[in-house]
């Protein structure tokens, strides 16, 4: 029953999406509001049907309906409810269903939102219908996948009495309930700016409000993607038991590459908005972002690259390749066809300006994305060209990305400090003086305290320097406001930030990135690791920590069996934490899967992994890792999220924007749209 309902819902959604896409394109072409309205309704309808399919799958999972193929694949009566619910995205078919759901949410949002923009009698601006049509085409592709090659609702015969349960790694941490949905919401959401970009290209012009609009629609998925990546790193740290958080695994790279190009886009679109420049580049970036999400899904979901995240070999590879090829070809054709609409209106006035900082930023992000792309794709190239199986080691990625990342840390402070158009040396000298002095003082103090790692030292100094510049960006207007209005410092700071949410939200994001960079540099450079086989009661030393093995015992849980090594971590005789690293035995995994135990603190994490034990419970082998400042990474990720949320939050009704520059460079064709953001 569940299977029939689910499959019927996906098939109807597919048909409705196809109808909606045709109606949207026709509506744009003929400028007929009736078609457009039909397409908008279809967009909302697709969401309703996909939501029905999703809910049906959840019901099948929760009620252990093993007549549905996907439930037979990932379900198990012994799995706790929470893990049963999230097991929907524990394998290929279900993860594409989640993908389709999120995509349909975005589609419905775009449909409802664009509805406000073609009120009866206002005429049809073809660009939004074209965008909706494109987004519905993306829906068609994913619905096609879950209707046929990756159909999760296939009937089972005979119906098995029980299933193996989800992937053991997924069952091992509640974080799997958070990380994939966050990441998908970001990843899938990049389809919307892509649709808006192609919509504008199809319509043959960029409205003046286009940059602002597309920036908003990109910032939402960007925020989710950023949080999803950091949550994924945290998951890797808390679950995989190697004490690290980033391994340049193909799937990590697949999520990181679109983040890099989307970040570059968010910056270049500001240059476009301000100066009418870099239009082709900006559109190329957003198209690349979407292409990279499709490529990433292909790489990780087709089994061509080995990875912790890769699912089974599946027949969907050729579908993705075809889709990728079509999107690439279509976008290139569109870009070439509409190149006249994308000519630049402004030009660079000075090397020392906000624009040039943005340019360097964009080149760095693009180079970064290229480095990661090449390293990720190289195994495929090598296998095709020379028939050898290789992987590109982590050192390649580190060597190439560290210098780029350092320059970006530097620009995170310098960019905001430079004025648009032309900066003067006096202004820069004035602004840079104190941050430089403070950064050098911190650098000297670090060197005196014994920091000998040059790259980590440089990261700390540059981060302090950029942070200083950011503080000035906040402090300058705040103190001016405090002086002129007499408001208290806190109120003045809040009012300044609220007067230009986009700008100050952006600076908070920069600050979060600086905190994150310090965490990465410190935990990667100063991590200490030891491995001991401890007898019960024995104590070993890692840095200032004493680790004592108290006991080894076994537990029995419904979905798994576990062995726990109870330990006490103390510093100078004072008990710091009792940590219980464990090994878990799942029905669906041949080997035990560990759960590390971590004592987190802002200063330093102590991380214990149970590697082995003797069957009589007298000995346990434990790996202990101390990572200084690793928690700053999660903290930085949180700050990034807060900053982005602040930037996205709608300003209070028509508050005056503190935008001293008038909008420069009008597009040549007159805008028809009444759209407002």
């Amino acid at each position: 029953m569940n299977g029939v309902v689910g499959h019927a819902a996906t098939l109807s959604a597919l048909l409705l999406a196809a109808f909606g896409a045709v109606a949207a394109y026709l509506g744009g072409l003929r400028r007929d509001a009736r078609y457009v309205t039909a397409a908008q309704r279809a967009g909302v309808g697709v969401f309703a049907l996909v939501a029905l399919a999703f809910a049906t799958m959840e019901r099948a999972l929760i009620t252990h309906d093993f007549s549905v193929s996907y439930v037979a694949q990932v379900g198990s009566r012994a799995t706790p409810l929470f893990y049963t619910v999230i097991s929907l995205w524990s394998a290929l078919e279900g993860s594409i269903l989640l993908w389709a759901l999120i995509l349909s949410v975005y589609t419905a949002l775009l449909a409802l939102w664009s509805r406000r923009h073609n009120a009866p009698g206002a005429g049809v601006d073809p660009y939004l219908p074209y965008a909706l049509g494109t987004l519905l085409c993306v829906n068609i592709f994913f619905l096609l996948l879950i209707s046929w090659p990756a159909n999760p609702f296939r009937p089972m015969s005979p119906i098995p009495p029980d299933g193996p349960g989800p992937n053991a790694l997924l069952q091992n941490s509640p974080f799997m309930g958070v990380h994939p949905p966050l990441l998908y919401t970001g990843y899938v959401g990049m389809s919307v700016p892509f649709a808006l970009a192609t919509g504008a290209l199809l319509a043959g012009r960029l409205n003046p409000d286009w940059p602002k609009l597309i920036r908003r629609w990109t910032l939402v998925p960007w925020t989710f993607l950023s949080l999803g990546i950091v949550a994924g790193a945290w998951w890797s740290y808390e679950v995989l038991g190697w004490g690290g958080y980033w391994a340049w695994d193909p799937v990590e790279n697949a999520s990181f590459m679109p983040w890099l190009t989307a970040t570059a886009f968010l910056h270049s679109v500001m240059v476009q908005e301000r100066r009418g420049m870099l239009k082709t580049w900006t559109i190329t970036l957003i198209v690349s972002t979407f292409l990279l999400t499709v490529l990433g899904t292909f790489l990780t979901r087709s089994g061509v690259l080995a990875s912790v995240h890769a699912f089974t070999q599946s027949p969907i590879g050729p579908f993705f390749l075809t889709f990728l090829g079509l999107v690439l070809l279509g976008s290139l054709t569109l870009l070439a066809w509409r190149s006249d609409a994308l000519s630049s209106e402004g030009r660079f006035d000075a090397a020392l300006s906000r624009e040039s900082a943005f340019m360097v930023n964009n080149l760095l992000f693009a180079a970064f994305a290229f480095v990661v792309l090449l390293g990720t794709m190289f195994p495929l190239i090598a296998e095709a060209a020379r028939g050898v199986k290789v992987s590109v080691g982590g050192p390649y990625f580190n060597q190439m990305s560290v210098p780029v990342a350092l320059m970006l840390v530097f620009l995170a402070g310098v960019g905001p400090a430079l004025p648009w158009r032309k900066g003067s040396l006096e202004l820069i000298r004035g602004k840079f003086r104190w941050p430089t002095i403070v950064a050098l003082a911190v650098g000297a103090a670090l060197a005196a305290a014994g920091v000998r790692a040059p790259l980590a030292w440089l990261t700390f100094v540059l981060a302090v320097f950029s942070a200083g510049l950011l503080v000035i960006e906040f402090a300058g207007p705040t103190s001016a406001r405090h002086r002129t209005t007499g408001e208290s410092w806190v109120v003045a700071l809040w009012r300044v930030c609220a007067s230009n949410r986009r700008r100050y939200g952006g600076y908070v994001v920069h600050a979060g990135i600086l905190v994150l960079a310090v965490g990465v540099a410190s935990s990667a450079t100063f991590r200490r690791e030891r491995e001991w086989t401890l007898t019960r009661g024995a104590v070993e030393q890692l840095g200032r920590y004493q680790v004592r093995l108290d006991s080894v015992w076994a537990v029995h849980e419904p979905n798994r069996d576990g062995v726990i090594a109870a330990t006490t971590v103390s510093v100078g005789g004072r008990v710091l934490a009792r940590l219980n690293p464990r090994l878990n035995y799942y029905k669906s995994a041949m080997e035990p899967i560990g759960t590390p135990a971590v004592r987190e603190s802002l200063r330093e994490d102590v991380y214990l992994v149970l590697l082995a034990y003797t069957a009589d419970g007298t000995h346990a082998t434990i790996k202990a890792i101390a990572s200084p400042l690793v928690a700053w990474i999660w903290l930085g990720g949180g700050i990034v999220g807060l900053g982005a949320l602040f930037a996205l939050w709608p300003s209070a009704g028509g508050a005056p924007r503190r935008d001293p520059m008038p909008e420069l460079g009008r597009p040549r064709s007159r805008p028809v749209s009444e759209a407002r953001v």
Binding site: P164, N167, A168, L169, V308, A310, F311, T312, A367, F370, V371, L374, G375, F378, A382, V388, K389, V390, S391, V392, G393, G394, P395, Y396, Q399, M400, E531, T533, V552, W553, A554, H556, D561, G562, V563, L583, Y585, K587, S588, A589, M590, E591, P592, L611, A612, Y613, A615, D616, G617, T621
Partner: protein
């Protein structure tokens, strides 16, 4: 398009930067390649892969495991379906389920004295469910400990 001096110099400068960048990327990849080989392939390549990073995958041969707790040296032979085996030397305690017959991947270098020097030993993880094969007892250790605790 006007080809003034400024444009030309920007183009040349950009080209040089792009070339240097491409050179760095290519060299960076070349120096950091890890080859995935089976014991048969490794032995066939012989001396040509001494010192290169290799990820060697195979089955841990029954009865070949020697663990020296004092020197913390683990020696075993990794074999494949063609009955070719390679001696592996690793340091550090073997993982919990490490025993004969299990699939393992070792990362390290092949040395002229015929020993594969391993710096990273991974028991093959599989996401897919397989019914336990006869002879493999995944949770045997756990059961012993649990029984002991119960009694």
């Amino acid at each position: 398009m006007i080809w003034n001096a400024r444009r030309v110099s920007v183009a040349i400068g950009g080209g040089v930067v792009a070339l240097v960048f491409a050179y760095l990327v290519w060299g960076g990849i070349g120096n950091n390649l890890v080859y995935f080989l089976t014991p048969t392939e490794l032995l066939a390549k012989g001396s040509s892969v001494y010192g290169t990073s290799v990820r060697l995958g195979g089955i841990v041969q029954e009865g070949s495991i020697r663990w020296d707790a004092d020197t913390r040296e683990l020696r075993f032979r990794l074999g494949d379906e063609n009955d070719h085996t390679v001696e592996v030397l690793s340091t550090g305690v073997p993982p919990q389920m490490f025993n004969g017959g299990i699939g393992a991947v070792v990362e390290g270098v092949w040395t002229p004295n015929g020993v594969f020097q391993c710096h990273n030993l991974m028991v093959k993880h599989s996401n897919e469910y397989r019914a336990p094969m006869p002879g493999t007892k995944p949770a045997e250790y756990y059961r012993q400990l649990f029984r002991k605790q119960q009694s």
